[in-house]
């Protein structure tokens, strides 16, 4: 579950130049999120899969038509 985050972690994660006030505001925002996440019912979470799915994936190209006769043997030019 979410825990508090340090100013250094915030600067590292967000990147760019953050003012002191921006870091404090982000830390407060994260603390609020962390409080909310800490309320999640952990035992019940173990019983459900998040609704994220892979897809069946790309399809194979259509089967080439079956040939009724074997291809003619190719040999060296006469």
């Amino acid at each position: 579950m979410a825990e508090t985050i340090s100013a250094d972690e915030i600067r590292r994660s967000v990147g760019g130049e953050l003012s002191e006030a921006e870091v404090i505001a982000l830390a407060e925002w994260h603390a609020g999120i962390a409080r909310g996440v800490s309320q999640y019912p952990a035992p019940e979470l173990r019983g459900v899969e998040p609704p994220l799915r892979s897809t069946p994936g790309p399809r194979a190209m259509p089967q080439p038509p079956a040939t009724s006769e074997p291809p003619a043997p190719s040999g060296p030019p006469a």
């Binding site: 994660s13 994260h30 909310g36 996440v37």
Partner: protein
């Protein structure tokens, strides 16, 4: 019918007039453009008005009618588009400085479908920057003002669309809803807003906020008008991987079905725990009205819904941060401060918190699944407060002395997590400001949601009330005409 009267008519009233050529699309479009010119400087609902394109489309609509090519109830109806949906050849700014010059070559699917249905695009609506906020206090294109009280916000992020619909600056509009953004502004502005089922309406050609939560849908003055617009825009679209091939029913078929015998669920938890007293009183009265109309009302339990707002905010911020990562690195100075802060928050969300929030999403879905085994719809307040004052949305205030931005999406975001359809329909006024009733249904249950909303609407007169700013404009228009 005078020009000022034309803009007051609902789509259901206008459609037969247009079809029978008692009113032309050209005169209707001119009436709306005139109204926009008079009123929008006070509301700032439009980022861009498109008079030349609108008049050309109206002439074409009239020509089609004259040659017998009637396209249906939206033929010749002037509508507006939230400025995050592409209209070919017109900038899609998303309310941002970064996309000020972003000109798409192709229409968004919803825009293309509206055009196919004969609708006239009047322009692009203002919104909260990047659709990431609840107030529409836009730092780049100006604050949108609520037609019921221009010192109040219209809600967001589809604030321009809601204000425009409420003030008769378009007959209907298209908005998006990631956590509240159709329903909350509809509630704050006293109109009807429908967030359809996830996948019911294509988002192709709309810039994302959070892929797994984004929905597109209509805002209109009446439930029937919402149904007509939804009819035009719903359906499968290979351009949107989230769009389903679920059959599209006739959304108007059940509008007169009433609620006799229907079972309506009232959430035992969460939805009424933080709510302004007057909003609660009006929602309770609305529930009593539904009961008087013949519905059976009972409590339902949604034990995990209390975690929905945190889960929604975690998912939204993380997905938004992923979409904005490159711009944030290169152009952070071009973001408004509140949106910059919220997107940056997404970078400090851990992957495990994101996934735990997705698991909460599954639990909330299970809660509603259980509820819908007993009831046809679940009813609650759309938003627990009335529209807050402009400039006072990030500080405690109002009847609850709470920060409006912190609580404004708490009762709407559960349906973004579940993907269920939900509509906001006006249910009264508190201190002169509109209040919305939210009706939530099971996946692809739009016909039932619309049916209950229509029954309530027909039993009350809330949607017939118009904002004072509009009445003043009507009076001014009448005075102008009488003096010429």
């Amino acid at each position: 019918v005078s020009d000022s009267d034309l803009t007051q008519l609902d789509i259901t009233q206008l459609a037969p007039l247009l079809r029978d050529r008692q009113v032309s699309a050209a005169e209707l479009t001119d009436a709306y453009l005139d109204r926009i010119e008079r009123l929008d400087p006070r509301l700032n609902a439009y980022i861009r008005v498109m008079p030349d394109q609108a008049r050309a489309a109206a002439r074409q609509a009239d020509h089609d009618l004259a040659t017998g090519a009637y396209r249906g109830p939206l033929h010749g109806i002037p509508v507006g588009i939230k400025d995050l949906f592409d209209v070919a050849g017109v900038p899609t700014t998303m309310g941002s400085k970064i996309l000020r010059d972003n000109v798409p070559a192709r229409d968004a699917t919803v825009v293309g479908r509206l055009k196919q249905a004969g609708a006239i695009i009047l322009g692009k609506h203002n919104l909260h920057e990047f659709a990431f906020g609840i107030t529409s206090e836009n730092p780049h294109f100006g604050v949108v003002r609520n037609p019921w009280n221009t010192e109040r916000v219209p809600g967001g992020s589809s604030g321009g669309t809601a204000a425009a619909v409420a003030a008769n600056l378009c007959a209907a509009g298209i908005g998006s809803d990631t956590g509240a953004s159709i329903r909350a502004p509809a509630a704050f502005c006293g109109i009807v807003g429908l967030k359809p089922t996830y996948g019911r309406v294509s988002r192709a050609g709309a810039l994302p906020l959070a892929w797994s939560l984004d929905h597109a849908g209509p805002l209109a003055r009446t439930v029937a008008d919402c149904a007509l617009v939804l009819q035009a825009i719903a359906g499968a679209d290979p351009r949107d991987p989230g769009c389903t091939a679920e059959p599209v029913p006739d959304f108007t078929a059940d509008l007169l079905g009433g609620v006799t015998g229907l079972r309506i669920g009232i959430p035992r938890e969460y939805f009424f725990e933080i709510i302004e007293p007057e909003v609660e009183r009006l929602v309770d009265a609305a529930v009593a009205t539904l009961e008087r109309l013949g519905a059976h009302v009972e409590e339902v339990s949604l034990p995990h819904v209390g975690d929905a707002q945190t889960a929604g905010n975690v998912i939204m911020s993380a997905e938004a941060a992923a979409f904005h990562a490159e711009w944030l690195r290169e152009r952070s100075v071009d973001y408004g401060s509140d949106v910059l802060q919220r997107i940056r928050g997404g970078f400090i969300i851990s992957a495990t918190d994101y996934l735990h929030s997705q698991q909460v999403r599954a639990l909330v879905q299970q809660d509603f699944q259980s509820a819908f085994e007993r009831v046809h719809v679940v009813v609650a307040p759309t938003v627990p407060l009335v529209a807050p004052p402009i400039g006072r949305t990030q500080v405690p205030g109002g009847a609850l002395n709470m920060v409006p931005r912190a609580i404004a999406n708490r009762t709407t975001v559960p349906c973004n997590l579940t993907g269920m359809p939900a509509i906001s329909v006006p249910c009264g006024f508190a201190d002169g400001l509109p209040v919305g009733l939210q009706i939530m249904g099971p996946a692809f249950g739009e016909p039932m949601v619309l049916r209950v909303a229509a029954a309530y609407e027909q039993a009350t007169d809330w949607t017939a009330r118009r904002p004072l700013v509009l009445q003043a404009a009507i009076a001014a228009g009448a005075a102008d005409r009488s003096s010429t």
